[in-house]
Symmetry: C2
Subunit: 436 residues, 2 copies
């Protein structure tokens, strides 16, 4: 019965799109995943490996022997092999490389030499190129011989005899113009062109802004070497969002949801260790005022509010600054205005929420002698800490950006560190002044 079930499952997997098989594999616990993976036809292994997430791909590759891996990979395009190569055993890559022809080997070398976040690391090598001194009729005949066009071919590229890119002929121009028109007269000469070493995030912004489907990639000599397509750009944009969320929570990489406890814990420890250090630092700040707290224990109850709200407010400012930096909207010329505005917002928040918090604190401790002074301390400390939070929330991302670093990474831990430590210091410091 078990075996019949497996046969049925195999038949169903065979009918699915490789991306759907990948999706199913990702949702299965490890042992079930490997059973299902064994059922997948060997000749589909490669395309499915390309579709699964990095974390799940590792588990699948670990379960395959060298021979199976070589079989799955040798039929791939050079750009696809380059995508998988970092996850593959070195000897498998070597064996596959030996079986490639000269041009493919050169492409694989090129693709593996580009960083993962460059256009070169994401481009495809399959594209259609034509000369400008032929008729559209000739282009149409040429395309008919190809039997199949590369995916996402919305334009064919026009090159000269040295493979220099001279322009592009969008498919719709090919279709709406008369067949006797020359390529030179129908083509676009002013085409958005990418360099292989360009940052792929910038390329993605260009695709988004100009609604592109594909763009030619050239080398430093102006020779056409590849093509970036919107399918890759969609992945890049999705990964950006994902990466932002993961790194904000201090996760170093995406996690297979059924990863082992040990692997999961390792993914999270750096962040927890870092936060434990900053928390102990803040704790020492409080420790310095233990004498004051012994006298007025209410301070201990109120101090987390001062730290917390400034952290929340600073986080709002930082989110907007990081976002504006990512879109290139913040320049040195307008950064000053932005800072003034954020300070004003923080000041307003300080007056309003500091006032509210002060009144509530006073009301809570109205029966004690310290009541009114507690409220005043609370209000003042919140105002100051909100301004400080705004300062950190702007200075840290702007500084990281200026140093050429990603402003989204590490900013939040520094912000919390500052609003906690300084919040405790300001609040307890003021209290020490007022109550002694």
């Amino acid at each position: 019965v078990e075996r019949q079930g497996l046969n049925e499952l195999r038949a169903r997997l065979d009918r699915l799109h490789p991306a759907d098989v990948a999706y199913i594999l990702e949702g299965l616990p490890l042992e079930d995943r490997l059973v299902a993976w064994d059922l997948v036809k060997a000749e589909r292994d490669g395309e499915i490996l390309l579709e699964v997430s990095d974390a799940v791909r590792e588990t699948l590759i670990d379960s395959m022997d060298r021979h199976e891996l070589v079989d799955a990979i040798e039929s791939m395009e050079a750009d696809e092999i380059a995508d998988l190569a970092p996850d593959l055993p070195r000897d498998v890559v070597e064996e596959v490389r030996r079986q490639l022809n000269q041009q493919e080997r050169e492409q694989l070398r090129a693709a593996m030499s580009y960083p993962e976040d460059s256009v070169g690391g994401r481009m495809y090598f399959d594209f259609v190129k034509v000369r400008e001194d032929v008729t559209l009729e000739a282009v149409l005949r040429y395309l008919r011989q190809l039997e199949e066009l590369p995916e996402h071919t919305d334009q064919v590229f026009v090159v000269d005899s040295h493979d220099q890119l001279c322009g592009a002929l969008p498919i719709d121009r090919l279709l709406v113009n008369e067949p006797e028109v020359m390529v030179a007269d129908a083509m676009l000469r002013d085409v958005l062109t990418l360099q292989a070493m360009d940052d792929v995030d910038d390329a993605a912004q260009a695709f988004e802004r100009y609604d592109l489907v594909s763009a030619p990639v050239i080398d430093p000599h102006g020779r056409l070497v590849g093509r970036l397509t919107v399918a890759e750009v969609v992945d890049v944009i999705r990964e950006q969002g994902d990466y932002g969320r993961l790194s904000q929570a201090g996760l170093r990489e995406e996690e297979d949801i059924f990863a082992s406890v040990w692997d999961s814990a390792k993914n999270r420890w750096l962040w927890l260790a870092l936060n434990l250090c900053t928390a102990f630092f803040a704790s020492r700040v409080i420790g310095a005022f233990e004498g004051t707290i012994e006298r007025v224990a209410a301070l201990a109850a109120l101090m987390p509010i001062v730290a917390g709200i400034a952290g929340n407010s600073g986080n709002q400012t930082m989110t907007l600054v990081v976002r504006s930096l990512a879109f290139g909207q913040v320049t040195m010329a307008n950064a000053w205005r932005l800072m003034l505005k954020e300070f004003a917002v923080a000041g307003l928040n300080g007056v309003v929420w500091g006032g509210v918090a002060g009144l509530v604190a006073w009301a809570l401790y109205r029966d004690t002698v310290e009541g009114p002074l507690l409220g005043l301390t609370m209000s003042l400390a919140m105002m100051l800490n909100l301004l400080l939070g705004a300062l950190i929330a702007m200075a840290v991302p702007l500084g990281l950006h200026r140093m050429g670093r990603d402003p989204a990474i590490g900013s939040s831990v520094l912000l919390t560190f500052s609003t906690d430590s300084m919040g405790f210091f300001i609040f307890l410091g003021l209290a020490t002044l007022f109550f002694t």
Copy 2:
């Protein structure tokens, strides 16, 4: 001189792509933005309004009089008008509507009736449709008459005499097949088809998974009504990422970076007010143990650590759960396994980091009589609070998801609330037991 500068600026703006003009306008402070906006040729107003962000669009529309708005909008497609309509004065929309023909008016009505997050709210009305009983030659002739194809036309749709969708003819099949082949023989019958009421996020996942450029949209009767393209999908994916980040920081909407202080503050107040309430609740928990804190002031210094680390660790769990839910990887069948895994990770973190924190606390207070007991309290409380954080981090998003709500919204405030309040309660409660 000033005027000459403006003329030059005008000439430069005229040469730019509308998306680039939009980008420049977004980066200018309000008064400069309106000066630049006045320089833009009136006939380009419409396309630029479509490109700018919602927040900036409002400022531009506010600066235009009714006549200018009608001029800018009346030449747009129905789907574009529908996109702008929510931001326009009602009488402008009415006047534009009166100038549309019957079919356009019907399209506008349809487009405005779909929710913004549905496929219908994002689809275009311009597409090419052909019949299946003609030759590819005839299709090519028909396309040639159109002079221009709708953007992102990677396939033409095949319909019957009742406008029912029967399939699609990808442009590359049109190109590689011989002209005498019939559409019926070259077309794909099994095409991914969207319903106008489908969720656009789900549609975006389909585009991403199957690398689509366009997809037909049908009404409940199977009639072809529109077309969704990858350009819209790219926007949807970008907005998802953006929205996630903004809502996580408690920002209700994107903000023009030069918005007024008042508008910015309003955007942030709900969140701050909410956090102030939860912070005061946590403060009351501490208040209940003021007697214990008076006796052992060191507790006040250590308690934020217990709350903070559990918050960090819970946030990691929650990020992974929310992400898995968004990708549809978590089902009721495997949720149980996921919970066991996350509990195990939290337990391991509790032993490791609780142990470390306990030892450090002991070391810090080694000269006091309470030292060893403080360390023990710290370790136990951290373990318990980490487990509690993991529980909340899983239960809240899973619960929201089950109730059909977006698990990304509101989860984090509940998590911090729990890890803070319960962290203080557990730590100070244990201390009260141990030290009295």
